[in-house]
């Protein structure tokens, strides 16, 4: 592998504490977390529900400021404002119901003032890439949930972000669609060279797709360990046959099992 690449994101001892809505009591959601995202890598975060994974994504994206510690993107601190060069795909469907698929995908570009012919070129490419080329004139309400998520990914993709953050984008999809979408994410990653951070519940997904996997504890979320997969960039569905695949899965589940039980008990 290449030499240690530059960290595009640097998180040092970041924590996040909320005050609960009804009681006003402080609620320690995340941290302290320290890690770096290397430029161009595919990084996944796995952990039990409610452990702060989405909060971590918010901090990286600038959608929230850390209560303590720091987050840096490309060397500059990120405090509550989204820096240029980052795109987020959320867990819920964020497609705009009043725009058709093409206009949805083109939204960010048009706001940036890109000339229309360039917009068309980029959007056509992205829609084609995501398998939506026939749907340009259709409205999101006429599409399935999976296709709407693809629209959101296309909308993020056309912005050519240097960092792409995905918050369980395939959570609502069935297993087979997820596998296909996973392959498409790999294609996207290789095609664009962006750094990608994926938050997921699925250990298989994380192990298959990622260069590194951050295994998160139950609330307040902290990284138990960051596991290197060592896959080559040309990995695909066949990688699941590699004997190390099963070992990695078992290793990660071993770490998560206790945390998941804790999270389950905490819910009561």
């Amino acid at each position: 592998m290449s030499l240690a690449r530059n960290p595009i994101v640097s998180v040092k001892e970041a924590t996040k504490t909320f005050s609960a809505r009804d009681t006003g009591q402080p609620f320690h959601a995340l941290g302290p977390v320290s890690f770096d995202l290397r430029e161009g890598e595919f990084f996944s975060v796995v952990g039990p529900s409610g452990c702060g994974k989405s909060t971590l994504l918010d901090l990286l994206a600038g959608l929230g400021a850390p209560s303590s510690g720091s987050v840096h993107f490309e060397g500059k601190p990120v405090v509550g404002e989204v820096p240029d060069g980052i795109a987020v795909v959320f867990q819920e469907d964020a497609s705009f119901p009043w725009l058709n698929v093409f206009d949805n995908a083109a939204f960010g570009l048009r706001r940036a003032g890109l000339p229309e012919d360039q917009v068309k070129a980029r959007v056509d490419h992205a829609l084609d890439f995501m398998g939506l080329s026939g749907c340009a004139g259709i409205y999101p309400s006429q599409l399935s949930g999976g296709m709407r998520q693809r629209v959101c990914i296309a909308r993020a993709m056309v912005l050519r972000p240097r960092l792409m953050l995905l918050d369980e984008p395939f959570g609502a999809l069935d297993q087979q669609t997820r596998l296909l979408m996973g392959e498409e994410m790999l294609k996207l990653w290789r095609d664009t060279g962006s750094t990608i951070m994926l938050i997921t519940h699925s250990i298989d997904e994380a192990v298959l797709l990622s260069d590194r996997i951050g295994v998160m504890s139950s609330c307040p979320g902290r990284f138990i360990e960051i596991v290197e997969t060592g896959w080559s960039p040309e990995r695909d569905a066949q990688t699941a046959m590699d004997p190390r695949f099963g070992a990695l899965q078992a290793q990660i589940w071993g770490m998560l099992r206790a945390e998941s039980i804790k999270a389950l008990k905490a819910k009561r």
């Binding site: 989204v82 980052i86 119901p97 009043w98 706001r111 999101p140 309400s141």
Partner: protein
């Protein structure tokens, strides 16, 4: 029942809902017609629908009540415009000031509990014996419905769309213009629909109670003078008119809803 995909169903099956609806309406009309002509219902009190329609057409053709129709329409239209404009602004203000919203909440909820007509005499004394009290009545009746629906629409913009706006680094005005407003449009449209309906109800009701002119007044006048054919003719015209407006609004809403609404997944 609908085992076949829509494109393969025969035309009558696809449109059977509309067909049944028309059947129901026709059935009711026929029943009333028979009831009146056969004396089940007192034919003097309740003339057959066919005669109502004839009277309505006659009134239209003769143009006897053109001025009154115009007076009512103009008063209601002005009331609608004012109610939509101020109701919208009021809704936005309530959205932006949650404390004010919380304080006014009980008032907003009970606003429609009292007959607004009680204010009518005061409005006459304030604004004079002209059309303005009616306009004010229409406005007062409609404005809160518009405001509440606007507020509802603004509040129901899915949080994820607003986070998307932040992710795209949109300023507040852009966010409002490009995301919040289009997303709340279905509810705003409901507010407009209600404003139209309520304005008409208030204006015609006011004319009914206390007025010297206008559609509602003419109905009351005909009633008081035992001129049933004219009265029913006017009422039929009113029903047809309101029905048409509702149909137009409904069609416009279907167009809007087809593309714009996220079906609530509750």
């Amino acid at each position: 029942m609908t085992a076949l995909p829509g494109s393969l169903q025969p035309a009558w099956l696809k449109h059977r809902v509309v067909a049944l609806r028309l059947l129901v309406i026709a059935g009711c009309v026929l029943l009333l017609e028979a009831g009146s002509r056969l004396g089940w219902i007192n034919p003097v009190s309740f003339i057959p629908p066919s005669k109502m329609l004839l009277s309505a057409i006659e009134l239209l053709v003769k143009g006897s009540f053109k001025t009154d129709i115009w007076l009512t329409l103009s008063a209601a239209s002005i009331a609608v415009l004012l109610a939509v404009l101020f109701g919208f602004l009021f809704g936005v203000i309530l959205f932006k000031l949650p404390r004010l919203r919380r304080v006014l909440d009980p008032l907003l909820l009970s606003y429609y509990a009292v007959p607004i007509f009680v204010l009518y005499p005061m409005l006459i004394v304030l604004l004079g014996l002209n059309r303005w009290p009616l306009v004010a009545l229409g406005f007062l009746f409609a404005v809160v419905a518009m405001a509440v629906n606007t507020l509802n629409g603004l509040e129901r913009v899915p949080a994820v769309l607003l986070r998307t706006a932040r992710m795209l680094r949109m300023g507040r005005i852009d966010e409002l213009r490009l995301i919040t407003l289009p997303a709340s449009l279905p509810f705003v449209f409901t507010g407009i629909k209600l404003a139209v309906v309520y304005s008409f109800i208030a204006v015609i009701g006011g004319e009914f109670v206390l007025s010297g002119a206008g559609f509602g007044y003419q109905i009351a006048y005909a009633y008081n003078n035992f001129d049933n054919p004219t009265m029913y003719g006017l009422m039929t015209l009113l029903l047809l008119f309101v029905g048409t407006i509702n149909l137009l609004l409904h069609m416009a809403e279907q167009r809007l809803y087809q593309r714009r609404v996220l079906k609530e997944l509750t």
